[in-house]
Subunit: 160 residues, 2 copies
DNA sequence: GAAAACTGGTTTCATTTGTAACCATTGAAA
DNA sequence: TTTCAATGGTTACAAATGAAACCAGTTTTC
C-alpha cells in the first residue's frame, strides 16, 4: 500500500482562528471614538480645564435647562458618581446652583448660573465648528453612511 | 407716533445656540463605542479577569506572533505605559515571554507561551461570535453603512 | 403606623489611567 | 572619543474611575 499524503490543505475551519483587530468592529469603534473624543476634549479641557463628565453636565443643563442629577446621568450615560462629582465641581465654580425640590426632599434641581450659561454659550459654537469641520471632510454619502450606521448599530445594541 | 413692536420673531442666528447632545457626532460615537466595548469586555473580563489593555496585548500577539512593546502600542493605539503594565501582568501569568533583542538591547521581543496561545484560541471564536451576533441584527445596507462610515471617518480624522 | 424595601445622591476605597520623570542603550554630532 | 539627542521601556505620582457601602428621605406593605 502506498504512503498516503499526511498533510492536507487546511480547511478554513481547520486552521487556528485569528482575529484581525483592525477590522474588528468593537475595536474600530472604540479607537475612533477615542481619537475623536480626545481631539474634541481640547475645546473644554484647554480652555476651561473641564473634565468630560463636567463638560457633559454643562452641555446637558445648557440644552435642557433645569435638570436633576439622575436625569443628567440618563441623558449623558454617566454613572451617578460621575455626575455627583461633576456637579460638585461645577457648583464650586459657581457655574450651577442646586435647588431642593419642595415635594421630594431627596431631589435637587440643577440650573446653570449666568457664569455657567456664559461658558456654555461660548463653547457651543466651538463644538459645532468641530463637528462641521470633521463632517466637511466626508462626502455626502459618507456622511449619511456614518449617521445611519451609528443609528442602526445603536438600535441593534438596545434590543438585546 | 404709535408704539412699535419691540419683540420680533428671532432669526435662527439670533437665538442662543443650543447643542443637541443626542445628535452630536463625538458624543454619539463615544456612547456607542462605550456600550459595545462594555458588552464585549465580558468575554475577557468575566472569563479570565483581563483588563482591556491586557486583552489587546493578547490579541495583538495572537494575531501577529512576536512583537515588540512599541509595535503593540502602535497597533492597538495604547499608551506605552498601558502596554508596559499589560505585558508585565501577562508575563506574571506566564502567558508571554520576553526575549531581548541581540542587536539592540533596549528592545524585547514578546511572544505568547502555550498557555497564552491557548487562552487566545479560546477567546477568538467568542469574539467573532459577538461581532457576528451584533451585525446579524443589521440589514445588509446598514452593515455596509457602518463599515464604510467608520472607515471614512477614520480617514477624515487622520488627514489633519 | 412601624418595618421593610426603594430611590436620589454622596462618600470611601481599590483599581485604572495619564503625565512626567526616569534608566539604559543606541545613534548622531563634534 | 566624548557629548548630546533620541528611543525602548519602566516607575512614581496625581487624577479619574467603578463598585459597594452609605445616608437621608419616600413609598410600600402588613
Amino acid at each position: 500500500m502506498a504512503t498516503v499524503k499526511m498533510t492536507t490543505k487546511r480547511e478554513p475551519s481547520d486552521e487556528p482562528e485569528i482575529l484581525e483587530l483592525e477590522s474588528f468592529l468593537p475595536y474600530r469603534l472604540y479607537r475612533l471614538a477615542d481619537a475623536v473624543s480626545r481631539e474634541f476634549s481640547r475645546i473644554y479641557k484647554d480652555r476651561h480645564g473641564l473634565t468630560r463628565p463636567e463638560w457633559r453636565t454643562l452641555a446637558g443643563l445648557g440644552q435642557n435647562g433645569t435638570m436633576t442629577a439622575t436625569a443628567l446621568g440618563e441623558q449623558s450615560a454617566m454613572h451617578k458618581t460621575k455626575v455627583s462629582r461633576a456637579v460638585a465641581e461645577l457648583e464650586r465654580r459657581r457655574w450651577l446652583t442646586r435647588t431642593p425640590d419642595e415635594k421630594d426632599r431627596r431631589i435637587e434641581h440643577l440650573t446653570l448660573t449666568g457664569a455657567g450659561l456664559a461658558a456654555y454659550r461660548e463653547m457651543v459654537p466651538l463644538a459645532k465648528a468641530f463637528e462641521q469641520e470633521l463632517l466637511a471632510r466626508l462626502s455626502t454619502d459618507e456622511r449619511t453612511a456614518i449617521t445611519n450606521g451609528l443609528g442602526a448599530l445603536k438600535e441593534a445594541l438596545s434590543k438585546d
